[in-house]
């Protein structure tokens, strides 16, 4: 009697997969949420200052279904002390009222349910750059950039289980059974197994060089530096991802321009006046010496606050830009004007006269402008087609 009343067993649960499937769906929704908040997330400081490989935590509003519920901030709560609690004792800090805080939510205290989605920078980049490409890319003569493509295009009788071709395996099984007079599935043997295998194709792609120019003069404040760093951070990420071997030349300038390495480019902060033409002249020199437009797709990008030295230099810049446009696929100019209420800088005004569709000018006014700017620069265009 009692033996029937209680019993104990242990089964094999290794094939049970329900929760992981729903978890995957939740993660997919998190990705969607990230995608719709990219403009805010892209310029997060935690990302720009990370070494680029780490997992970053992106604060997004937890994916939750709304319910009728009480207002937690106006509500009383119940707690339990160690025996000596008194009226007036402070038992915790509430998070600030001002929207999504950077700080961590206070443990089990009531409050808004923020959720730190953990994504790697690469995953974020995948989401961001899905539909972006280098604009106006052309076939050039010397094909120097090679990239490896993996293609599943062959079937073998041995291989890792993860690349088992189930359909072919079952067909083989039916075929073998049919030979013995029983055309049905069953009794799968090693001999039936078929695996997909791949070959690596080396493809030569179009050559491309990016000439990244950055204003490091005294008028570039913390905000301006931050925005240009943020933009270039993602630009470099993007290019290294999409194209195995894009070359990047880094130029910084104030009144003089110099070519620097990547590390310096991102960290350098100097003082002094601004002479934008110096950077453009150096870029043209570098193009002349190292990147023949017959062989290379060339993409100069320049970030500045537009606070240039004078009208003379502005006019010179316009001429130099025209010269570069002859040789380049696209010329990008990004101007960072914090809270710039519509008024154009003198440099941007001068650039209004550049009518070439290959010239892309963008103004970024706050952090959330970085992502739209990236999209504007890297939306795919066909050569010769105006956008």
């Amino acid at each position: 009697m009692e033996k029937q009343a209680v019993s104990l067993s242990r089964h094999d649960w290794s094939l049970h997969r329900k929760a992981p499937a729903d978890q995957a769906r939740h993660n997919e929704k998190v990705k969607e949420a990230i995608k719709s908040n990219l403009a805010d997330i892209v310029a997060e400081e935690a990302i720009i200052t990370s070494d680029g490989n780490k997992v970053v935590k992106v604060p997004i509003r937890s994916l939750e279904l709304p319910h009728f519920r009480y207002d937690t901030n106006r509500k009383d709560h119940l707690g339990q002390g160690n025996g000596d609690s008194q009226v007036g004792d402070v038992i915790g800090q509430a998070p600030g009222q001002a929207g999504p805080g950077k700080g961590k939510g206070a443990g089990d205290l009531p409050g808004v349910d923020y959720f730190d989605a953990e994504v790697t920078i690469d995953e974020l980049a995948d989401i961001m750059f899905e539909d972006l490409a280098l604009p106006n890319l052309e076939q050039k003569q010397a094909q120097q950039i090679e990239s490896t493509v993996i293609r599943f295009n062959d079937i073998r009788k041995s291989g890792p289980m993860s690349s088992l071709d189930k359909k072919r395996t079952i067909l083989e099984n039916i075929r073998r059974n049919a030979k013995m007079g029983m055309p049905k599935v069953g009794g799968i043997k090693n001999d039936d197994l078929r695996f997909k295998t791949w070959t690596e194709d080396v493809r030569f792609e179009n050559n491309a060089v990016i000439i990244a120019m950055r204003d490091v003069s005294g008028s570039m404040g913390e905000f301006e530096k931050y925005i240009s760093r943020s933009f270039y951070f993602w630009m470099v990420k993007f290019l290294r991802r999409k194209y195995n071997q894009v070359q990047i030349v880094f130029i910084t300038h104030h009144t003089e321009a110099k070519e620097v390495d990547e590390q310096t480019f991102f960290t350098l902060g100097e003082s002094g006046g601004t002479k934008v033409s110096s950077a453009y002249r150096l870029a043209l020199d570098i193009i002349a010496q190292r990147y023949n437009p017959r062989d290379w797709n060339i993409y100069p990008f320049h970030f500045s606050d537009g606070d240039n030295w004078g009208e003379t230099d502005n006019r010179l810049c316009v001429d130099l830009v025209h010269e570069m446009l002859q040789k380049c696929n696209v010329f990008g100019y990004g101007e960072i004007r914090q809270g710039g209420y519509g008024s154009l800088s003198t440099l941007m005004s001068a650039f209004q006269n550049v009518k070439d569709p290959k010239f892309i000018g963008v103004t970024i006014e706050d952090k959330s402008g970085v992502y739209p700017a990236l999209r504007q620069f890297f939306s795919p265009r066909q050569p010769g087609v105006e956008s």
Binding site: V6, S9, R10, D22, H67, F68, L78
Partner: protein, 480 residues
């Protein structure tokens, strides 16, 4: 592929014998559980069942989210589920693979007390005891709908229904019967002749009708009385839902009704199980080492928490206090209430049968207990959470209020044909706690999608009546 079993056959046998002994001890102490089947499961499965509430329940991303969170807490060593019990007959209980023998014994004792509670507490009387089968049939139905109508379509519909899943009424069948009786009585009153000349008057009416004037149809209010079961009301009265959509509402509602008694008795049920696992463990022949382990584990389970009530701890203390007070009544209690000494055990069994958390706390949380448990009320003041109240009655009343309707705002359907325009008028039965208006508006959007017409919620904000309306485009708030 098979991995080395974590527990050997010998250990499994020992545990089975221990569980049989615990069963016998439990019966001897007076517990009356369902037959109980224990299953040892790995952590991932345990957390899946915990997240879904029931093994085999339908798929939804909210379950995936709960699972991820629980599993993460486990992986980081922040929290651990030792057991899980399902209210079915026979009762199913899951033990975490890797529990040591002492943990398993404690858990088994705890589980049998839950099983006893499920079987004997009044509020569980109408729960389906075949819920595992029901849940997997429901899951299969939803899977079929996904196949037929598309996964996203079904998911989005479920999203909306789940926004109002709490709004069911366990006492509905009773209440509906009353309405029907009222309605019948009303109809009879209209039909029964009030004077011997009624049939003559009727001739007059016929004359009027022939003049082309119809007798005005009495506008019957829908629902006749405020209806707490919003899910059922929508399933039955929303105009544009497809059959499969109504079925999904019924599924969500049926599963919710199954969980409601557990939500209504959380403090009691955990207190009861904590009380009895200790009593049962004391009857077992434990080694000295096991005694120490037990004391540590027991202390961890019943530890107080600064920010919320630990139901294990508070529930346990109340049961202990009831037993003590009915074992040793005061002179006055003996004189005034005729209470006899030594009735403690009988009393706690009576309490476990009749009460739910609300009545349990209202009737048995005494001043002495509030002081001993050092309970307090805290609220937000500026950027800090501050203790604002230590008065025991206020604390008790607040605790009771927070358990009422298991902590969810009580909202009823007032009118399903508001303004004679098929708009849905809901009323929040305000009892001192205001709604989170942002959430309310988002929830109303989901209701709008289900109902298909504008939705209104009457509530109270800053002491004044307010009507929130959602017309499919935007929400508006006006004081009324």
């Amino acid at each position: 592929m098979s991995s080395e079993p974590i527990m050997s056959g010998k250990e499994l046998g020992e545990l089975e014998r221990a569980i049989e002994e615990i069963w016998n001890v439990a019966l001897r102490l007076g517990l009356d559980p369902f037959p109980t089947h224990f299953e040892i499961v790995p952590a991932a499965i345990m957390y899946e069942f915990g997240a879904y509430g029931l093994p085999g329940r339908y798929s939804h991303w909210t379950h995936g989210k709960a699972y991820q969170r629980m599993k993460m807490m486990y992986d980081y060593g922040l929290s651990k589920i030792y057991e899980l019990v399902i209210n079915t007959n026979p009762c199913y209980a899951f033990l975490l693979e890797g529990n040591n023998p002492l943990q398993n014994k404690l858990v088994a004792a705890h589980v049998l007390a839950h099983s006893d509670f499920f079987k004997n507490n009044l509020h569980f009387r109408h729960t389906s005891r075949q819920m595992l089968e029901v849940a997997s049939i429901n899951a299969e139905r939803i899977r079929r709908y996904e196949f037929k109508h598309g996964r996203r379509e079904v998911e989005e519909f479920l999203d909306r229904v789940l926004c109002i899943e709490e709004h069911v009424d366990p006492n509905l069948s009773m209440r509906r019967k009353e309405w029907d009786e009222d309605r019948d009585r009303e109809d009879r009153r209209v039909q029964e002749p009030t004077s011997p000349y009624d049939d003559l008057f009727k001739l007059d009416e016929r004359g009027q009708q022939s003049l082309g004037e119809e007798a005005p149809a009495r506008h019957r209010k829908i629902p006749p009385e405020p209806e707490k079961d919003i899910l059922l009301f929508i399933a039955e009265h929303a105009a544009d839902l497809e059959e499969w959509q109504r079925d999904i509402i019924h599924i969500v509602r049926a599963e919710q009704l199954y969980f409601v008694p557990q939500m209504m008795t959380k403090v009691m049920n955990e207190g009861w199980a904590s009380y009895w696992h200790r009593e049962i463990m004391h009857q077992l022949d434990l080694t000295e080492d096991e005694h120490i382990q037990f004391a540590n584990l027991n202390a961890a389970v019943t530890a107080p928490s600064a920010h919320q009530i630990n139901p294990y701890h508070v529930g346990l203390k109340i049961f202990e206090s009831i037993k003590e007070r009915w074992d040793n009544p005061t002179e006055e209690e003996m004189r005034e209430l005729g209470r006899q000494p030594g009735q403690g055990l009988a009393k706690i069994f009576e309490v476990r049968e009749l009460e739910s958390d609300v009545s349990f706390l209202r009737n048995y949380l005494t001043k002495e207990l509030v002081d001993e448990l050092d309970l307090y009320i805290y609220k937000r003041e500026g950027d800090q959470w501050v203790i604002v109240e230590k008065d025991w009655q206020k604390i008790r009343d607040m605790l009771v209020a927070s358990m009422t309707n298991f902590g969810v705002p009580y909202i009823v359907v007032e009118d399903g044909d508001y303004r004679r325009n098929r708009e849905l008028y809901l009323r929040h039965c305000y009892e001192g706690q205001e709604l989170d208006l942002r959430y309310a508006e988002r929830t109303m959007q989901a209701i709008y999608d289900l109902w298909g017409r504008p939705v209104h919620v009457e509530t109270v904000v800053d002491g004044r009546k307010m009507l929130i309306s959602f017309d499919g485009q935007k929400a508006t708030q006006i004081y009324i």
